[in-house]
Each structure stands twice: as structure tokens, then as C-alpha cells.
């Protein structure tokens, strides 16, 4: 048994003050000067050591308040209020919500999974991954110390084609595949996000994290500068159309990606000429009817396919087609063709939470590629100022590479931890066994159909007596 894969996380504080969900509004005027002010009673000592960060005009009372509302309720003159923080509301967009972003910040800072207390206050079901519930009912699940200690739960996956059988040459020696499988210890590959206020330090930090984690960092070939030379074996260059960017003879590149186009064969040939031993992945945007393309690519010998959804986790042509459904139908089509084991399916786009890794795999992906979370780990607010030539409010470009690496390792550590928890609760010991295990999940659409379809159609505007 290989030695146990562990991600070592360590507390890595923010460089800026984190934007919090609410702010305190405390009137001073009209204060009764009570002998013991409710502010003294704050168990977190929020009012005792106040500070103002002038760069962000952020008051420490907002950052430290735990929202118990004790002071709000206790003040006899009702001089203390709590209000939603406008800066918090402005974070992200309808998909990358402030709550998602804030949770990712927390994970990157602590390396831990945020605990939200007893019960789940959110909606019952929602679009995309939210209409999918995982089964965590394994009655003989290992104990917690088992999951993180004694038990061996593998999160490793293989990239490439698993051979159906072994072949031997005339001398009886095993014939080796030209493109050996690449083994990564966790089903997550990092990927350069579409925007971000990046510098060479940022990229170096990401590359350091990829190497530390034993996985890859995918980025456009022309972004691989000298500073990244040492990390080549952990980089996955994305080859653009036109002349190739990666140097000849760099044996270190093990994996590269070519975007799908009508003439993809030529592009793959050119890439292979540059790096003959590297595995090639083809990036295919998720769209209606993508299954056919996947099947024909696999039939022509492509062994890694990266299914890419939009940053909101949807198909490029149909906003109603979610990544989760796209993965499911591609996986299903490959299984029906009998070629599923001949390839590796990677998925990306809109993967914003730890649970999306397990859910993508349950739907049929072998692994995922994660983009914006590795930027949000660096305190990004998804404000998109960097796309408009405005300065980044958290100066990501100035962050040292060691900090970047540590934050990203924390984030991925928290995600891997959650994957272990989920697999433990499902009684699954190898993430490769989780692939396509839709029996380990319930899908809202299917439940809805099987439960209510037999009752007939509900007429529009029909009212119950």
C-alpha cells in the first residue's frame, strides 16, 4: 500500500481585512452611560480593542463580530443596530455569491471546512449541482479518526488510457505504452482563471502549490516564463492555435492541452512533435450534442478529454444545460459505447464548492479542473475590476508566491478533506470507484418525476379544493 497522501495545511492570514456580511451601527448620541454598558458584555471582546483600517476604511468591530446580537438586544436605548454590509453585497455575481466567496476565503485561510452550525438553512433544491444530494448513509462508515488516520481512502486518479490487456514482444518482455498513465493523488487539477490581477509571483505560487500537492497547474503555454522553468513537470500548458509556444526538447512537460477545433488532429500532431512523451488532453466546450464529439475523439485515440462549461457551470449554447447533466450524458454515452475505461474525463466550469468535486465525479467525471477558486483563495472579490483596467482592491499581483502557494494548498486541503468525509460516509475507499456511481446520489428532477408523474398533469391555474 502506498504511503498515505496528506495535505499539510497551515493558517495563512489574509493580507487585507476580509469583507464581512454585516456591520455594526452604534449611535453614540443619547447614550445613557450605563454603569455596565452592553458593549462590555460582548463575549468576543469586539468593542475592547477597536481599530480602523484606513486603507479599506474597515472597522475591526465588523470583522470580529460573530453576530450573536447580544449587544443589539441589550442596549436599553436601542442605540446599536446591525446592518448588511454594502461591500459584502457587492462581491461576485449571481453564481459566485458573496457566501460562496466568503467560504472559499475561510478555507484558504484555515485549511478547514467551514462549519455552519446545526441544521441547514438553505433552500431544499436549486439549479445545477444544488438539485443533487449525495448519499452519506453508510452505516458502517469508518470513524473520523479512521478517515483521517487508520483507514486508507484513496483520492488518486489516473490520467490517460488504462490498457485493456498487457502485450508482450517476441522476447517475452512487456511492451510499454508510449504514453504512460499519469497518476495524481487527488482528482483536482488547477487551472488559470479567465481573469485576475496576476503577476509572475502569482503564477509561481500556483505552480508551487501544484507541485506541493502532486497535481498540475494548467495555463496558456505563453505564460510559462523563465520563473516557471523549475516547475515544468507540474505544469499543463494550454497550446493555442498557431505556432507552438513550448520549447523543443523539454522532456519535463508531462501533460498538455489542445483546444478542440475542426482541425484538431493537426494541432495534436504539432503538440506531440514538441513534447513526444506528454499526454494530450483535448478541451471541448460543453454544448448540446457534445457526446458524439467525445465518442469520435476517443475512437481516434484521444485519451483525455476536458469538458469545459461556462464560469457559471452551464453549456455554451444552452443556459439550461448544466455541467452536471453534461457530464452525466457524456459518461453514459461512453459507457454505452463500451469505451469508458479507454479515456479520462475531466470537467471544469463553475466548480465553486468542495462538494462539486464529489458531485462531478458521481455524475461520471474522473476528475475536475478548478479555476476561480484558486484566485478567490487569494482574496479575490470577483469584482472584475482587473478586466476594466482598474486596480485590484486586494492587490493580488503584489502577493508573494509563498503566500499564494500556502493559501491554495489550504483551499485544496479543505476540499480534499471534504471529499474524504463524503467518501467515508458513503463507504467508498477509492475515488475511482465513485465515478459514475449515481446510485450514491439523488437527483431532484428524477425524484420529482418518479413521485409525482403518476398523479397526472397539473393544469395551469388549478387550485386545490
Amino acid at each position: 500500500m502506498p504511503s498515505k497522501y496528506m495535505i499539510h495545511t497551515k493558517q495563512t492570514p489574509h493580507r487585507f481585512k476580509a469583507v464581512t456580511e454585516s456591520g455594526i451601527i452604534a449611535w453614540e448620541e443619547g447614550c445613557l452611560k450605563c454603569a455596565v454598558c452592553v458593549k462590555k458584555g460582548c463575549v468576543y471582546g469586539v468593542y475592547e480593542d477597536r481599530g480602523l483600517d484606513t486603507r479599506q476604511m474597515m472597522d475591526s468591530i465588523d470583522n470580529q463580530c460573530m453576530n450573536c446580537l447580544r449587544c443589539v438586544q441589550g442596549c436599553p436605548k436601542e442605540l446599536i443596530h446591525k446592518s448588511v454590509n454594502p461591500e459584502y453585497k457587492a462581491i461576485g455575481d449571481s453564481y459566485w455569491t458573496p457566501d460562496i466567496v466568503a467560504k472559499l476565503w475561510y478555507q484558504a485561510e484555515t485549511g478547514k471546512i467551514p462549519v455552519s452550525g446545526a441544521g441547514y438553512p438553505g433552500p431544499f433544491s436549486g439549479p445545477g449541482f444544488d438539485s443533487m444530494w449525495t448519499d452519506m448513509s453508510e452505516i458502517v462508515r469508518p470513524t473520523r479518526d479512521g478517515i483521517h488516520g487508520r483507514e486508507y481512502i484513496s483520492t488518486a486518479i489516473d490520467l490517460g488510457k488504462t490498457p485493456n490487456h498487457l502485450t508482450f514482444n517476441e522476447n517475452g518482455d512487456l511492451e510499454r505504452d508510449l504514453h504512460p498513465l499519469i497518476d495524481i493523488p487527488l482528482p483536482i487539477i488547477m487551472r488559470n482563471p479567465d481573469f485576475g490581477s496576476l503577476s509572475e509571483e502569482t503564477l509561481k505560487g500556483w505552480a508551487m502549490a501544484a507541485r506541493g500537492l502532486g497535481t498540475f497547474m494548467a495555463l496558456p503555454g505563453n505564460m510559462i516564463t523563465e520563473a516557471l522553468e523549475d516547475f515544468r513537470s507540474s505544469l499543463m500548458p494550454l497550446i493555442g492555435p498557431g505556432p507552438q509556444e513550448i520549447d523543443k526538447g523539454n522532456g519535463a512537460i508531462r501533460l498538455l492541452e489542445v483546444p478542440w477545433s475542426e482541425g484538431w488532429e493537426k494541432a495534436v500532431d504539432m503538440a506531440r512533435q514538441q513534447s513526444s512523451s506528454a499526454q494530450v488532453s483535448i478541451r471541448l466546450p460543453l454544448h448540446e450534442g457534445v457526446e458524439k464529439k467525445v465518442i469520435s475523439l476517443v475512437a481516434s485515440g484521444i485519451s483525455i478529454i476536458h469538458l469545459e462549461a461556462t464560469p457559471h457551470g452551464r453549456a455554451t449554447d444552452h443556459a439550461s444545460l448544466f455541467l452536471k447533466d453534461g457530464i452525466r450524458s457524456v459518461h453514459q454515452a461512453l459507457v454505452e459505447e463500451g469505451i469508458r475505461d479507454g479515456m479520462t474525463l475531466l470537467a471544469s466550469g463553475g466548480l465553486s464548492m468542495a462538494e462539486h468535486v464529489a458531485k462531478s465525479i458521481i455524475c461520471g467525471a474522473d476528475g475536475v479542473m478548478v479555476d476561480f477558486p484558486i484566485l478567490i483563495a487569494l482574496e479575490c472579490r470577483m469584482c472584475r475590476r482587473c478586466t476594466k483596467g482598474l486596480s485590484c482592491p486586494v492587490e493580488i499581483e503584489a502577493a508573494p508566491s509563498s503566500w499564494v502557494a500556502s493559501r491554495v494548498i489550504n483551499l485544496v486541503g479543505a476540499w480534499q478533506n471534504q471529499l474524504l468525509e463524503m467518501m467515508g460516509a458513503m463507504g467508498i475507499r477509492d475515488v475511482r470507484r465513485l465515478r459514475g456511481e449515481v446510485g450514491r446520489a439523488m437527483f431532484f428532477e428524477e425524484l420529482d418525476r418518479t413521485t409525482f408523474e403518476s398523479m397526472g398533469k397539473v393544469e395551469e391555474g388549478c387550485e386545490l379544493e
Binding site: I25, L52, T54, R55, D59, N85
Partner: protein
């Protein structure tokens, strides 16, 4: 410091200000660059004299607040309190010999509430001829670009 340096304004505005979302904010940032620093606040009553004074001390030539019209505050009297606090702060800076127009407030109109962009333009116009603040010596002017590293909050 060159004399053509534009004054830097720290502008606090209540989040209930008409048309003051993230898009408007970024549009203003694009228009004014480093000479306008915007700080949305939950309610103008959240503002304390300290915010304005710290801004003047650290990076701004002027500090202004936009409040909701009288009677329209979500927290009933936040805007009235803000007004009083600004007036008090004005007195303070006057007494130490600074121009009082370095601190001010703008009350949005009740009848025809103006969008944030118009209000900001108004204040920027008003300040166009404001001389550089003597508080910010030449050595600290660079702070306005946000380049100053400060990881811990100053003690109040």
C-alpha cells in the same frame, strides 16, 4: 509634489443612495482614477468623525459624506446624526487651521433623488480648486495610490 496634482476625495455614501451599485461605483473609479476613493457604508449614521479625520490624515485632501434626504433614513435618524458629526468634524479641522471645505456632506434630494455618479461629480467639481492638504506632506502623497502597506488597523 507637482501643483497639478488633483485633490484626492474620500467619499462615503449610504448604501441606500439612489443608483449606487457596484457598476456605478466602478464607472466612477474609471472616471476619476486615484483621485476618488469610494466607501459605501450601511447607513450614513455609521460614519464617525474618526473616519473622516483618518482619511485626511492618511491619504485624502477632502472627506465627504452622502446621506439620504431627511426623513428617509432606514435607521430613522442616521442621516441627522451623520450631519451633526460632519459639522462637528468641520469645526475641529477649522480650529486647527485647515480649510473647512475639506470636510462636508451632501444630502440627497427627497423629490428627485440623484444617482451617485451625479452627486460625486458635484463634489468633485466643488473641490477642483482645493489646494493640496498640508497634512499630507510630499512624502506621504504616495499613500493615495493605495501603495502603502498596512496590515493591522491603527488603534483608535
Amino acid at each position: 509634489m507637482t501643483s497639478d496634482k488633483k485633490p484626492v476625495l474620500a467619499l462615503f455614501y449610504c448604501q441606500n443612495t439612489h443608483a449606487s451599485g457596484e457598476d456605478e461605483r466602478q464607472a466612477l473609479e474609471q472616471k476619476y482614477g486615484d483621485s476618488l476613493k469610494l466607501f459605501p457604508i450601511p447607513c450614513s449614521g455609521r460614519l464617525e468623525p474618526l473616519h473622516l479625520l483618518k482619511a485626511l490624515e492618511d491619504f485624502a485632501d477632502a472627506g465627504y459624506v452622502i446621506t439620504c434626504p431627511e426623513g428617509a433614513c432606514r435607521y430613522f435618524e442616521g442621516n441627522l446624526r451623520a450631519k451633526k458629526r460632519v459639522e462637528r468634524t468641520r469645526e475641529m479641522i477649522k480650529s486647527i487651521g485647515l480649510e473647512e471645505e475639506r470636510i462636508g456632506f451632501l444630502i440627497n434630494s427627497k423629490e428627485g433623488p440623484k444617482p451617485l455618479t451625479d452627486l460625486a461629480d458635484e463634489i468633485m467639481d466643488r473641490l477642483a480648486n482645493l489646494p493640496p492638504s498640508p497634512v499630507l506632506g510630499p512624502s506621504v502623497q504616495g499613500r493615495a495610490t493605495g501603495s502603502r502597506q498596512r496590515s493591522k488597523g491603527d488603534k483608535v
